[in-house]
Symmetry: C2
Subunit: 565 residues, 2 copies
């Protein structure tokens, strides 16, 4: 089994040579002092060390021993608590938190890189801390001053962890069906009662307290999503008393055994309203948006981890003669010299590198949207994040599973057994296509809420920005990207011309539309990577093995619209 | 958890209404008496009952308890031995064995349907009996009269089970690297020494004896594949003595826990030569060819099982409003009314039904190749099997895993937990893309050994037969199939015109070529299904969601050849 290693230099290349993050961040007064590449590289180096040396080695036990449940308590896998205590005490969860809350005020993109690596190293361990950042934002923007006083610093530092209690047995993608009850008390608190399922980190021993954010409904609230409000219920109250929140059991799952997936029962548990009554989903969506970019980076991290394993193995394992580069001194050639294997590995590089360019840019735009002095720039940045987050989440979690499975294939039978840890990646990655909104819901979000809602205006404006950016380059990669952008404009034109019936025709091809936008943005990313001098194999693989999917997707969409192919 | 149910009527429709199997089988003197549809339907009904009532219920325990290893012995999961004893005593393994060997002399296609169902019901249990049929053919055609006298009847009835001992730690896809030694003894027997890995059913308690077929090398044999010979080493000799074959351990795997994957050590174990010295791979390939069609049908069976589960769940589970068929009396609509879910389910039907048409036809051609009085017909049938077997194996095992994962997606988070059994299908199915020759090797086999070896002549002749068959139809499905066949002819023309360098250009696109031929044959299968009045959803899904892949694959191949797109 070869261990996952974060590569800080690769990340630095994408951040500073490809994306020129330093220039963009320097425009933001809140971050300008912390935009120096040398400083950021140094933080990345340290983060990479922590992930590689402390978190990665726990991954196998996390899978094989897993989180264990007994009498309402969850014991995390060996080493998990110690690693988490070291993690928060070293300040890693606070990396991008606001300094006024006790955070370090570094750019959000650093947090995203950190979580990409943590996910590649050990997704099971990473699940609980991964939810912290959304909870922090949610409390910061929606909670009362009293709640903030008790919880905000504990969350920004990560001393306490947090959960999102949304799903109920009959209410998954359709949260509006949730039935958990909240009854107001004379002191202004609420009694929360109901059962929530699929609660990642609902119970564990990583941290000394757990802060639950719970969607519930007042007895007189309207049915559906507008009747839902958000409440905070801690495991332990500030006075040390335990709340009436019980972990009933943890799920047996395909993978991610290191992360307890809990059934949580609330028995008239005392909690407090976060945000306004009936606006629970709005406050929750703030958490979910942050979480979606995290999940996209889980995909990138797991795919890179799978590639690292398969690439290492393919260089060592010798089977059969390669068609070109043969070594007659050996009985067989390294399987990386077999074109089918080489193609498969390079294809994952094409996805990892383009995914990083797009995800890191999105993380930078999140800071621009928050901190840029110019309102127009903030709006553009918001638009970018709204459009790109769902496709990053869907396409890169999809690729983590399918590309991870391709990497397993490199090992042959040795990939199907535990030995090399590659089958764990395939099992662990599968859930990311489901949680934080299934990938089908991401596709509908992109097409209906982000593109058709404004008749494509926002998407076209964003494409215009990319076209302008490409004007500087005349490489083959830039030509390909411009062609893709032009074809996407034509497709948007078809949607605009489609009239009121177009939405119905588009339902079954929302996923294809998401892929078209994904591939087009990847083409832009590869033009930028190419211009910065990125190694050629990923770029060639993108052009030869990834890009042709566009023709198929366009065909499916045009057929659905009844348009000429 | 909803259980897998074999559907005998669906199979009868494909065999007798779509493929007119009865007419083809009636041409074969050896089978003409057993080609009556009523008889065959009755056998299918009984087989379906056995699979559904006896084998399917053991699947969950097979996964959760699994095969257990202790001190060299393997205990199979609860109920497995009893089910196997009932299975062979009821005559199921002997279904298609020759009557002169103790078999029932029924058409091979019945055996294939039986194994499709067994795989859908419980692949772990099915692994060991699945190897029996290749071993029987191998002994029948290559073993000495003495060996046959001891082993043939035991294998045709299934009273004893068998293994294929090929792989060694350093010799997987490249069997020529195998080092296991065979030293001849004065009595003409051999002493076999070495370690074999990934031996499915190497040790278990299903049957009272296990017959190992082992690839090994004489001390003075040449290196490489031509130095390998095949030997028979039983667990127990006819006199009841135990042989020096030891199961050292069983593997921890991603799935298929019901099937022990054994490391087998041979310590100067006494065995006998099967076939000629140095021709071990030839004898083994006979086993592997039979096994490859079995594995293709594992894919079909698992995909059908996944579809059955997802279809059932999607009709019950209600989330959100459907865009068209809404039921205002309920808080939400069944998710099958959501177009993304409907598309996903129908796509699996397109694959299952076309897979059955092609695999059953291949099974029928196997009998034609063996039994037809006309040599030209036998040759055509052999050609069909040689071309179609590798693509059936690769494309349908691929679809079982990827389509199985799509079916998991229908369940959302409930699919990632054990509850419904769908994640087990995804884990169990993954290995079929690897064993019996990885899917990459199937693609190379098709392109290099089956198509380029005769400059495409055999493929073009086979396509001609399909074109002739389609002349009877003028449906949209038939037009699509004719277009595909014509495009494939053009592609073969490009390969023929490519000159000596074409093979090198084609290495990385062998998999794309296999997909092009797969899709083209599926189009033919759907034209036949359509003509027989098959329900429309699979056919529509094929046209809309499966067929457009052809454009992408052709693009990749043409680019690799440097041809205009």
């Amino acid at each position: 089994m070869n261990a996952y290693r974060p590569q800080a230099a690769d990340i630095g290349f994408i951040l500073f040579d490809v994306l020129q993050a330093q220039d963009r961040l320097a425009q933001l007064p809140a971050l300008a002092d912390n935009a120096d590449p040398d400083l950021l590289r140094q933080v990345l180096e340290e983060a990479g060390k922590f992930v590689g040396e402390v978190v990665a080695p726990l991954n196998r036990d996390g899978d094989e021993i897993g989180a264990r449940f007994k009498d309402g308590a969850v014991t995390m896998p060996p080493g998990a608590r110690a690693a988490y205590q070291a993690f928060w005490q070293a300040g890693w969860p606070a990396l991008s938190g606001a300094t006024e809350d006790g955070g370090q005020g570094l750019p959000t993109v650093l947090e995203m890189v950190l979580y990409e690596w943590l996910s590649g190293a050990n997704l099971g361990w990473t699940m609980a801390p991964g939810l912290l950042h959304g909870a922090y934002e949610c409390i910061k923007h929606h909670a009362s001053p009293e709640l903030k006083a008790s919880y905000l610093e504990k969350l920004v530092t990560g001393e306490w962890l947090a959960t999102m209690c949304l799903t109920e047995p009959h209410a998954g993608s359709d949260l509006g069906l949730a039935r958990t009850k909240a009854v107001v008390q004379s002191d202004g608190s609420y009694q929360i009662s109901g059962t929530k399922i699929f609660i990642s980190g609902g119970e564990h021993d990583l941290s000394d307290n757990i802060v639950h954010l719970v969607l519930a409904r007042l007895p007189d609230s309207p049915p559906g999503p507008k009747g839902l409000s958000l409440f905070l219920v801690p495991k332990f109250y500030p006075d040390g008393q335990r709340s009436a929140v019980v972990c009933e059991r943890i799920e047996e799952k395909m993978g991610l055994h290191g992360s307890p997936t809990c059934v949580m029962r609330f028995d008239e548990a005392r909690g407090w309203l976060v945000g306004e009554l009936g606006k629970g989903l709005n406050a929750m969506f703030l958490m979910m948006n942050a979480a979606r970019l995290h999940v996209a980076l889980q995909g990138v991290g797991l795919l890179d981890a799978a590639w690292q394993k398969a690439d290492g193995y393919a260089r060592e394992r010798r089977q059969m003669r390669a068609p070109v580069r043969q070594d007659p001194s050996q009985p067989a050639d390294p399987i990386i010299e077999h074109p089918a294997v080489q193609r498969l590995l390079d294809t994952q590089r094409a996805w990892v590198d383009a995914g990083r360019v797009l995800a890191y840019r999105t993380a930078i735009e999140l800071d621009v949207a928050k901190h840029h002095p110019d309102a127009a720039q903030r709006q553009q940045a918001n638009l970018w994040c709204a459009l790109v987050t769902p496709l990053l989440k869907a396409s890169w979690t999809d690729q983590a599973f399918h590309g991870g499975s391709d990497c397993l294939q490199v090992f042959g039978g040795h990939g199907y057994v535990r030995e090399w840890g590659i089958e764990q990646i395939v099992r662990d990655s599968r859930v990311a296509m489901i949680y934080e909104g299934t990938n089908e819901i991401q596709a509908q979000d992109l097409l209906f809420r982000k593109v058709l809602a404004d008749q494509g205006a926002g998407l076209l404006a964003t494409l215009g920005g990319l076209e302008q950016d490409l004007d500087r380059f005349d490489s083959a990669a830039a030509v390909r990207a411009r062609t893709g952008l032009q074809q996407l404009r034509e497709l948007v034109g078809l949607l605009q011309a489609g009239g009121p019936g177009v939405a119905l025709q588009l339902y079954p091809v929302a996923g294809d539309f998401l892929r078209v936008v994904t591939l087009t943005l990847m083409a832009w990313a590869w033009a930028r990577l190419d211009a910065a001098g990125a190694a050629g194999q990923g770029g060639t693989a993108f052009a030869r093995w990834v890009w042709p999917e566009l023709a198929m997707r366009q065909l499916m969409i045009r057929q659905a619209l009844g348009a000429a192919a």
